[in-house]
Amino acid sequence: MNKVFLLLAVMIALVIASCTNEPEQTVIPASKATVRFSALWEGQPFEMQQVYTDAFGNRLRADGFLNFISLITLVKDDGSEVLIKDYALVNFYNANEITAEVPAGKYTTLKFGIGVPRDRNKDQDPAQYPSSSVLSVAGSQGMFWVWNTGYIFAKFEGKCDTTGTDGAELLTPIAIHAGDDASYREFVSQSFSIDLTGISKTFDVKLNVDQIFSPVNGNDVNIALQAITHTSTNPDLATNFMDNYLAALTFVP
């Protein structure tokens, strides 16, 4: 009989224990990082079809500007790296935000490549990738060479007038297609210290397009002298364009 009472007491205790409210656990919201790419011309949003005057006095407009950005990575304070996105096509005016959940912790650096890194660039077959991949035939939106192997890293297309005549129609084509292993550039931000634990944070990467078409960085991209390159046809212009491109990036943590 005593055993029965003992058993009942234990059961009642268990039931009471199970009914007791557990202390509330703190739910830490996910840590999210967004990298937002935007383009500016003299501090204002850079618009397609808008006519601008560059540092050399050339009037130009962009009809398209598409870029491969790769290995977008945040570096933690312990030196470990968190990949935000492997490969992305960024056009700087709409498809330009990349968001990913990241582990909690403090971060110090943002880095990414402009172009496609060597091991995924040469001797690859775009047809092998599913259409959802930006490296595929469909996903890359024509950003690959066909007579040669590899991807086009940056494609700036538009029209210009280099005669200096006010109001003259823009008739001269601009076609800067930069892309081979030598055109790959890596951007590494200045150091910062941001704890992303439980917060969403946007990192702004701004491309100052006016600085690409200026001598400010020591590499002339003067479209009055040369406005067309398919890299192989004018490697110097492709190199200068990519060098200026890298130098024209600013980062706001």
Binding site: D125, A127, S131, V137, G142, F144, V146, W147, S232
Partner: protein, 340 residues
């Protein structure tokens, strides 16, 4: 009651038979390889099957792969000319001539890299080049597959061949490559001679053969091996100044200016005109060019120099080159468009 049951069964069977779609059954295929050719390993994702080859054959001759719907791969790669077209450079969709002479596709399965500067690594990826080139088929792959997917029969064939629900760039590039790897040409008189049929070659041709492989001409040092090409890139001094930079277009190296992939000499009799731009009309003139030694160019291969060949020796060389023609190859019906 039995009569009712009979009719129910009869019409039931008829109904069932009508609803059954014809099933495409695929099977692996062994691509014929001449005895003297080295073994060739098909890519793991594109082993040859009957339906893959059939699909590639249909696509090779399909005008939907050009933006004008007027030309296909076979427009510039004609079987009777060993898959060249007899023109210096070929007109594309707009009737505007391209920059280079259409190369033969014979034995492409064994070739290492593609395009004359060798920038393209595989036969599969090579298909993207003419499709996208505005001077050739002038379309893009996504537009082409959109048009092809409107063809239910072709979609069914692609599904059976590659197991994909729609025709996509993978299917098109694989099927075209699969078909082209059946372009095997190794039955020339010279091949038969090497297999022991000594009566296939006469004295005149034998003298040409000896001259071809001699230290004096060194023709065979670039055009050697079973495919009569070293698959390397050379500047032969065709021009003192090249408007087409050749391999340098891909490498940007000054030392590669004017270098082009050595073409095979198999079926050379059928693939005129010659050189990367089709600028030399006849084989006689090609031999005369090499006999003169080419134009001065800093990258000119040292083996190209004045040969001092006599008229008779030039004739002997020509006679030998004529023995490299595979007449059976250019009459192979299964390489022509499918008859509808």
């Amino acid at each position: 009651m039995r009569i009712v049951a009979f009719f129910v069964l009869f019409f039931g069977l008829i109904g069932c038979r009508e609803s059954v779609q014809p099933t495409l059954v695929d099977k692996p295929v062994e691509v014929r390889r001449p005895q003297s050719f080295p073994p060739f390993e098909f890519p793991a994702d594109n082993r040859p099957t009957a339906l893959r080859i059939q699909l590639g054959r249909q696509l090779f001759y399909d005008t939907r792969l050009s933006s004008s719907n007027a030309i296909h791969c076979g427009s510039c790669h004609v079987l009777s000319a060993a898959f060249t077209d007899g023109r210096a450079t070929s007109p594309g969709i707009a009737g505007i001539a391209g920059r280079r002479n259409a190369p033969t596709l014979a034995n492409v399965a064994w070739m290492k890299r593609f395009m004359m500067e060798g920038g393209v690594p595989t036969l599969e990826t090579q298909a993207l080049a003419p499709l996208h080139d505005s001077l050739e088929m002038g379309t893009n792959m996504m537009r082409a597959v959109h048009r092809l997917n409107e063809d239910g029969d072709l979609k069914a064939l692609a599904k059976a061949a590659y197991g994909r629900d729609s025709i996509d760039p993978f299917v098109v590039t694989r099927a075209l490559a699969c078909f082209q790897r059946t372009f095997v040409s190794g039955d020339s008189r010279y091949d038969r001679f090497l297999l022991g049929q000594k009566d296939q070659i006469n004295e005149h041709e034998l003298r040409g053969r000896d001259l071809f492989f001699s230290e004096r001409t060194q023709c065979g040092s670039c055009h050697g091996g079973v495919f009569f090409t070293d698959m390397e890139y050379h500047n032969i001094g065709l021009y003192a100044v090249y408007s087409d930079e050749g391999k340098a277009r891909a490498t940007h190296l000054p030392g590669d200016v004017g270098k082009f992939k050595t073409p095979t000499l198999r079926n050379i009799q059928l693939t005129s005109p010659y050189m990367h731009d089709g600028s030399i009309a006849s084989l006689e003139e090609v031999i005369a060019f090499y006999n003169r030694g080419g134009e001065p160019h800093i990258n000119r291969d040292v083996r190209v120099r004045a040969l001092q060949l006599s008229k008779q020796e030039c004739d002997d060389l020509l006679a030998f080159l004529m023995t490299l023609t595979d007449w059976n190859f250019v009459q192979q019906k299964d390489l022509l468009p499918l008859e509808r």
